[in-house]
Symmetry: C2
Subunit: 272 residues, 2 copies
């Protein structure tokens, strides 16, 4: 069974495999009081990706920990915004990389303040000089192996909201902490799941919402030129904490910012 740790009571044990090898996963959930954005999708992704890594955690245990955390940090007469972070690790033990079967997973739970809201009229971003490398067995998994994103985020300064990462094929894939979608040639285009470092729950919700509204959605590789050649009708970044934000400038090039996506999808509907 899951062993739950509360961050304000201390960290994980020194021998935890999450620290040693990044042998685990995390979720960050935007909360409003005791309710959260896309909670079901967050917990389902964590359980599904844990299974991909061979970490045995019953989905009901994750749900139980979420409910305790929502009560612990989010109760009160005036619901305020905050961020819940769940770090799930394979636990402690094993011989080096090799884990014994049946280790008891650890869940570290913490609460933090909401980050500053991005400018809803559009943000400025650049290309990262750090290439994105995605391991085929770990694609899409929000694992604790995030060093390349840390290295890319070192390029950020206060004038840049995000940097966008290209893979070795020169395809535009995602930001350090955001997925992306491009509106072009009458369709919404986004890189396919197997190419992603993190397959975000907000991205998945957006794609499903667009499709349910009859909008054409294409999951395919994107070149940077397809954003910069003047035919792009909008570039949007998203994650479940910031929602969906338009990009008004990429690498010094102005991009069109339209209201259309906001009229189709309202991430505020995603509170559960």
């Amino acid at each position: 069974m899951l062993r739950v740790f509360w961050a304000e009571e201390g960290g994980l044990p020194a021998g935890d495999r999450g620290l040693a090898y990044g042998d685990g996963l995390f979720e960050t959930i935007r909360m409003q009081g005791a309710r959260g954005t896309l909670v079901g999708r967050h917990l389902e992704r964590m359980a599904r990706d844990a299974a991909r890594l061979g970490i045995e955690v019953p989905p009901a245990a994750l749900r139980g920990a979420f409910c305790q955390a929502a009560e612990r940090y989010g109760a009160g007469p005036k619901p305020a915004g905050w961020v819940l972070k769940l770090i799930l690790t394979r636990g402690e033990g094993g011989r080096g990389y090799r884990a014994e079967a049946g280790l008891r997973p650890h869940l570290l739970v913490s609460a933090s303040a909401l980050p500053p809201s991005p400018d809803r009229h559009g943000v400025c971003v650049d290309f990262s000089r750090v290439p994105l490398t995605v391991h085929p067995m770990l694609a899409g998994i929000k694992s604790l192996n995030r060093l390349q994103q840390v290295m890319a985020a070192r390029e950020l300064d206060d004038s840049l909201f995000e940097v966008l990462m290209l893979n070795a094929q020169g395809e535009l894939v995602e930001g350090t902490r955001t997925n992306l979608v491009v509106n072009r040639d009458g369709a919404w285009i986004t890189p396919p799941t197997p190419s992603l470092a993190v397959a975000g729950v907000m991205r998945q919700w957006l794609l499903e919402t667009l499709r349910s509204r009859g909008e054409p959605v294409l999951e395919r590789a994107l070149s940077p030129d397809e954003v910069l050649d003047g035919r792009c009708r909008g570039l949007y970044l998203m994650n479940s904490v910031i929602g969906i934000v338009p990009v008004r400038q990429l690498a010094g090039h102005d991009l069109p910012v339209e209201d259309r996506l906001a009229t189709i999808c309202d991430p505020l509907e995603t509170l559960e």
Copy 2:
């Protein structure tokens, strides 16, 4: 300056970036009492790779922590074998992946028992089904991002000492926890540093020792066929804890095991 934590007194703080993102490095050093194998190389690699990641740690602080640890865990009248592990992280703080400059790095120090010695007459290994993906900016760095090695190590059972990983080009690169060298066509052949997930200090010591003895050493890509086609005179695995061990069987194929390497290099000479 560095903040040192002793594992027996607890783990790192809950907000440590090593746990959150694998934002750090580690070294495991084979110790005999208060002396260790290739200590200078271990500490130099950690300082050099920390600099590559932008983690500011004075080499003298690492050396000081090592000396304290050697004294703390290794003092005593009868020197016995043990393993010292140093985990260096960027510390605590920053906004998500983005770290502020000037964070105070953390060093978690722990001692553990030596692993069982491998059979000096040769070990059995197999190919891993997990491909090896090396980020060009992180090549060779013994970072805390080791999830692909954990996934490959899940293929180990008690009959297998190691599994060998191939990259996307089908080249044989390294084991989960070992580097490799092949003796073939009168030369010692090993995959080049930029292709490696971890550039081991024992590998580097071995290559320098071979070259100093006038042995031909080639750092170039290796195909699995070059080990299996009958012209291979020996395949060796190495790391600084186990030393250098011959492989007598790879994926069910018998390989020649000769004494030649042992007569050229003695890893026991590396105690400092």
